[in-house]
């Protein structure tokens, strides 16, 4: 049943789904070509940020525009929590797609840069934290009051990620003492935990929300 709700999310934002497909391919290539010093993590992170948040922004706008359609779906046997859970599954699907595309590009185009699993999971954690804060807020306050949030994230990400890549060295020294495998497990579990907690909060908010 959940797969049909995921399909619904993609259908109602199909134009942006097509854009996601192109952005995940194009952004790392563009960064690798024009700003090779920022290739690798920055290119991948930008692809994730733009793909995830632009898609979700559009999806939220459509759901706000057609709020009565959500009410119709709630009158069907679809569980209301499914309408929320599908948003998180779409987030994971887009992320996995970005990873796959970036990996394929890195195999054939060295300028794109290469990434290790730790880097991928660090981006996963960062994106999950932002997403996990925004989604419950949006369910609580509504699309109109929160749409500026993602716009700011999308606009600020190129500058802030480039600055981070150039000047930031937030990797604490103690991490060198932790085996890489453990680092990866911790990063993955932290990202997954943040998403799960956010999903539970969003489901609770949505369940008590007046849909119309």
């Amino acid at each position: 049943m959940l797969i049909h709700l995921v399909k619904k999310d993609i259908l109602i934002s199909k134009k942006y789904a097509q854009l996601v497909i192109l952005m995940a391919i194009g952004i790392p290539l563009f960064i690798g070509w024009r700003m090779p010093e920022f290739a690798q993590y920055t290119g991948f992170a930008l692809a994730v940020v733009f793909s995830e948040f632009m898609f979700f922004q559009n999806l939220s706008m459509k759901e706000n525009q057609y709020s009565k359609a959500s009410a119709l779906l709630c009158s069907t046997p679809y569980p209301s929590r499914g309408l929320v859970q599908s948003k998180y599954i779409v987030f994971i699907l887009i992320f996995v797609y970005c990873v796959l595309i970036y990996w394929i590009e890195s195999l054939f185009i060295p300028q794109v840069g290469s990434m290790n699993l730790t880097g991928v999971l660090a981006v996963f954690l960062g994106a999950s934290v932002v997403y996990s804060i925004y989604v419950p807020l949006q369910y609580k306050l509504g699309y109109d009051k929160t749409k500026i949030f993602f716009m700011l994230v999308i606009m600020a990400s190129p500058v802030s990620l480039a600055a981070f890549a150039k000047y930031g060295n937030l990797r604490p020294d103690f991490l060198d003492m932790i085996p890489v495998l453990l680092q990866n497990v911790l990063l993955f579990m932290a990202g997954a935990a943040v998403l799960l907690i956010s999903m539970k909060i969003s489901v609770h908010i949505y369940r008590h929300k007046e849909l119309i």
């Binding site: 049943m1 399909k7 259908l11 009565k68 119709l72 009158s75 007046e210 119309i212």
Partner: protein, 285 residues
Amino acid sequence: MDNILEVTGLNKRYNKFSLTDVSFTLPEGCITGFIGANGAGKTTTIRAILGIIGRESGRIRIFGKDLEGNERSLKNRIGVVFDDSYFYDELSMAEMKSIVAPAYDKWCEADYRMYMELFKLDGKQTISTLSKGMKMKFALALALSHKAELLIMDEPTSGLDPQIRSQILDILGEYMKKGGRGVFFSTHIISDLDKIADTIVLIDSGRIILDCEKDVLVDRHRRVKGDISWLDNESRAMFLDLQATDYGFSGITARLDELRRRMPDILAERPDIEDIMLAYIGRGK
């Protein structure tokens, strides 16, 4: 006869409006018309029944089971038609169907295709390009294509031309021919009730005023006319509404026998449902 739908003590509060102790039943094998003026609370009641909006208190039982705790199994047996476009208008009808259909265990593609053909709808057409009547027909096709035993419809004929209204009402009549079903539809178009409703529930300002069989309702009331000099305070109190001029009076009453004892020469005629509805609503004010 079992009750398909039982609403008991439904309360819902907004700033400037509330549903107060809304209670009624929908018997099996009946088409129940839910009537009231604009803003009376018909749509709010239907939304509360379906769980689209919350409620302060009240119990909803469908097919003898509480909606809470049995939502999935009960919603599988309910077809819903709303008055406005409750679709993603940018999708085609086929795409919208592909979202709705998998929700139902008993979705029947053959029935869906039959209704789409009957209504002359092309699944590839985008919903935003449909007229109001076509959207209503599409909503009805979706509602009737999963072997629903209860149809809940919110003003399904509102804004439609007489031909489409008649077609929809005929389809409801056909739907009821297979036993064990029920239809609950809200409307403010009285002629629809005259045509197909078996029972009538009247709501006004968030309160249920009437809940009875249509024929009994009409039989129990009369429009009474007579000379103004026959009226006194006691007889005035026996009318639900009363229009009086210098020469005569006309009013709706449910106490014809008592009035005849007091005024043997009055004229009595069968009122319309609309007359009865307006009389009760006017009395409430």
